[in-house]
Every structure is written in structure tokens, then in C-alpha cells.
């Protein structure tokens, strides 16, 4: 079976309207898009809703996709615009809600799970101290492995600005994690 490139799938979807082509694009990118959104909003249900909104925007806008950039580049730009738009609409700087940890696929011993959970809460808190722009920078480059210039394109900013954001995000995160860990150790 031939595996079609993203751009070929887009073309076939636009021409035929057959949903299976769109479904394939969703299958390829749903995990990635959600992984880009979650660290910025720090809320599972919001991340799911925004991931859905991104793909609906993509579905509606595919006929306008000109193929000048890769489909993934276009998709990530929409993901970032949608996420920042959501945060602007909410007019709030999202904070971690410390929901129940998600189901973990690989079986972990309970003590390991507890340690991972504690560590995750500290990272949650540290990330929540960042502005959405700084969270987006660290998400795109560190967690999703984008180059700085790709991340700058997704965010619609200059490459130099993205460098500065990553630097600033790392500085704040280190400081916050150290502060939180000190606080946790004292409270034990």
C-alpha cells in the first residue's frame, strides 16, 4: 500500500471530499498537536478541545492551503494561533489544575508512579509561572524538537526573539524548580 505524503492527502481530500483522507491527517498529527498545546494550557480538557478546534480549522481551511509550505508547518502555525487565541479569549494566564495523573501506558511500580507524579507537579508549577509565549517557546523547541527558526515561524516571531524566549524560559524554569524543590524539602 502506498503511503501518501501529507500534501497529497490534502490534495485528494480537497478534490474528492472523501473524509478518509482527512481522517488520515488527523491520525498522523493528533498526538503531536495535542503535545504542542497541552504544555501551554496545562489543562487536559482544554488541550483536547483546542486540538479538536485546530483540526476543524484545518478541515475548513484546506481548500486554501496552497502548498507553499509543508502541511505540518501550516498545521503547527494554526495550532499556535488557536492556542494563543484561546488564552486571549479567556483573558487569563492559565495555571496548572493538578488534575489526576493521566493513564500511563507502560506499567510502572506504584512508588515510581508517585515519584513521577510529585516531580510532574513541580514542573507543572514551574511552567505555570511562565507567560504563554515562553511556555510555547520551550514546548516547541525542547519538547517537540523544532529548530529555533521553525518555532519562530510557528509563533510568528523573529528567530532572535525565539532565542531570547527560550533562554528566558529556561532561566525562569530553573529558578522556579529550585525554589519549589527547596520548599518541598523543608516541608517534609
Amino acid at each position: 500500500m502506498t503511503i501518501l505524503a501529507d500534501e497529497q492527502l490534502v490534495k485528494q481530500y480537497v478534490e474528492s471530499g472523501e473524509m478518509r483522507h482527512f481522517d488520515e491527517l488527523v491520525n498522523r498529527y493528533v498526538r503531536k498537536v495535542r503535545a504542542m498545546i497541552y504544555p501551554i494550557v496545562l489543562h487536559d480538557a482544554d488541550a483536547d478541545d483546542l486540538t479538536q478546534e485546530v483540526f476543524l480549522r484545518v478541515s475548513n481551511g484546506l481548500s486554501r492551503f496552497r502548498g507553499e509550505a509543508q502541511f505540518s508547518t501550516w498545521l503547527y502555525r494554526i495550532a499556535m494561533n488557536t492556542t494563543h487565541g484561546f488564552l486571549r479569549r479567556k483573558s487569563r494566564n492559565p495555571v496548572a489544575t493538578y488534575e489526576d495523573p493521566p493513564e500511563v501506558e507502560d506499567a510502572m511500580a506504584p512508588d515510581c508512579l508517585a515519584m513521577a507524579g510529585e516531580s510532574a507537579v513541580l514542573v507543572d508549577r514551574a511552567l505555570a509561572r511562565l507567560s504563554p509565549g515562553l511556555r510555547a517557546a520551550i514546548t516547541l523547541v525542547v519538547l517537540n524538537g523544532m529548530s529555533v527558526s521553525e518555532a519562530a515561524h510557528a509563533e510568528g516571531c523573529l528567530t532572535a526573539t525565539m532565542y531570547w524566549r527560550i533562554h528566558e524560559a529556561r532561566r525562569i524554569l530553573k529558578k522556579e524548580l529550585e525554589r519549589n524543590e527547596t520548599h518541598e524539602n523543608k516541608s517534609r
Binding site: Q52, S119, V142
Partner: protein, 256 residues
């Protein structure tokens, strides 16, 4: 340059990553909503507020003669209502093999009549409405039509037996989104989307907005077993208790 902080963030991301099951559910939700959106854009879905089907008939230029024919045909295949006291509670909301067969015949006959352009059939209170594709639609899967039955049961205080207060049958194609007002005497509206899963079960999204016999709205997105009634809402008002059920099954008919 990769730092310890980066490693820690990566571990955090792994810990926070949704399960495969969660991603599969999200994928299903997105593809379903995309189908909704596409159908809204194409405006091929009947909207509530008018008697569904008849405008399509007019559009098809078949006029009142066809209307009568539809009613006669439907009358022929209507099954007599079962007596709830004889058949028990399930008989009020379930779909019998006989009904699956008769509804299948109805759908097949109408589909042939409209040269494969039949989109949906709805029956309620002796009325029959149909919807036609305004443009040729190539459906992705050749699955039999699905019958969605929504039934409102009621009983007054002190009564022990339930009675059927309202019911509507909708026959739709797999994955089609259909929104109709099944009964011109009420403003009740139903919207359904059904997707036949590989394991034989059915993913169903039902939206019910009733004004009669009771004002109630409900939306349920669930996976059901074919033919097994599901309660989708319940309420009590003015001394009358109401329970709303849906039952979904395939009908015994090919699309051609």
C-alpha cells in the same frame, strides 16, 4: 544544547502524555465533529422548524401525488403497536426483528423510488418525512441503513405501568448527520449521527430537544450494542415521570 532541565521537561511530557485510548477517543471525536462541520457547510442536512422531507419532495418536483404514495406505502409497512402489558417494558422501546425487516423494506422501496438519493426517513405519530440528497453523495462504506428509535415513556404518580407518550423512528445512513423535526404537531427535534464500529457496536451521538410531551433537552455520545435500549434522559414534572430511551439497530435491507 540539551540540559538537565530539558531532560526533566521531556520526562514530564512523557508522564503527561495521554494514553493510546485517550488519543483514539480524541481522534474519533475530531473526525466526527469534522463530519458535522462539513455537512453544515454543504447545507444538506434538514434543519428543524419546518416539516422535514416535504420541501425536499417539492424540490424534487414530485408534488402531492408522491406525498400520498409515501403515506400509503408507509401505512402498509407500519406494524401494529405492541401491547405493553403483553410484551413488557422492553417491548415499548426495543426494535423487534419484524420491525427491522419492515423498516428495511420501507427504506429500500423509497430509496429505489428516489433513484438511490434517499438520505433519511423519519416516522412519528403516523407521519412520515423523508430527506433526499441535494447533490449526489458517494458514501464511504456500503453498510445497511441504521434505525434509531427514540421513545418517551410516561407514568403518572401511583401508576405502575409505563405507557409510550411519544416515539420517533429515524432511518439514516452510516456516518450521516441528520437533524429533523419528526412530528409537525410538536417542535420536537432530533439530531443523530451513527457510526458502525468494527466490533459490531455502534457509536451514536444523539441530540434530543423535546417540547411535547415534556420539555427536555439531552445530548448523549455513547457506544451502544445493536438493539439494546439505552436510557438517555429522565425527568419528573407535574406528577408525571418521564424516561427517554434510544435504541439503535441496523435494518434488514441493502441500499440498492
Amino acid at each position: 544544547m540539551k540540559t538537565n532541565l530539558d531532560d526533566r521537561l521531556m520526562q514530564w511530557a512523557s508522564f503527561k502524555a495521554p494514553s493510546r485510548k485517550h488519543v483514539a477517543e480524541l481522534t474519533r471525536r475530531i473526525t466526527r465533529e469534522a463530519r458535522y462541520a462539513r455537512h453544515e457547510v454543504q447545507a444538506v442536512v434538514e434543519k428543524p422548524g419546518s416539516v422535514p422531507g416535504w420541501s425536499k419532495l417539492a424540490y424534487a418536483g414530485l408534488g402531492a401525488g408522491v406525498t400520498c404514495l409515501v403515506l400509503v406505502l408507509a401505512g402498509l409497512v407500519f406494524l401494529p403497536r405492541r401491547n405493553p402489558e403483553e410484551n413488557g417494558f422492553t417491548a415499548l422501546v426495543g426494535i423487534s426483528a419484524e420491525q427491522r425487516a419492515s423498516q428495511g423494506r420501507l427504506f429500500s422501496e423509497m430509496n429505489r423510488m428516489f433513484t438511490e438519493g434517499l438520505r433519511w426517513v423519519v416516522q412519528s405519530g403516523g407521519e412520515v418525512g423523508i430527506g433526499l440528497d441535494t447533490v449526489p453523495v458517494a458514501r464511504e462504506r456500503d453498510t445497511p441503513p441504521l434505525l434509531v428509535r427514540v421513545t418517551v415513556l410516561a407514568r403518572s404518580e401511583g401508576e405502575t405501568t409505563w405507557r409510550q407518550a411519544w416515539s420517533a423512528d429515524m432511518m439514516v445512513h452510516d456516518q450521516d448527520i441528520v437533524e429533523v423535526a419528526p412530528d409537525p404537531r410538536s417542535n420536537n427535534t432530533l439530531a443523530v449521527w451513527v457510526y458502525a464500529l468494527e466490533d459490531g457496536k455502534l457509536a451514536v451521538d444523539t441530540q434530543v430537544a423535546l417540547t411535547l410531551p415534556v420539555a427536555l433537552t439531552s445530548r448523549l455520545n455513547t457506544v451502544v450494542t445493536r438493539g439494546l435500549p439505552t436510557e438517555i434522559a429522565a425527568t419528573r414534572t407535574r406528577g408525571v415521570e418521564y424516561r427517554i430511551f434510544q435504541t439503535v439497530d441496523t435494518v434488514n435491507a441493502s441500499r440498492s
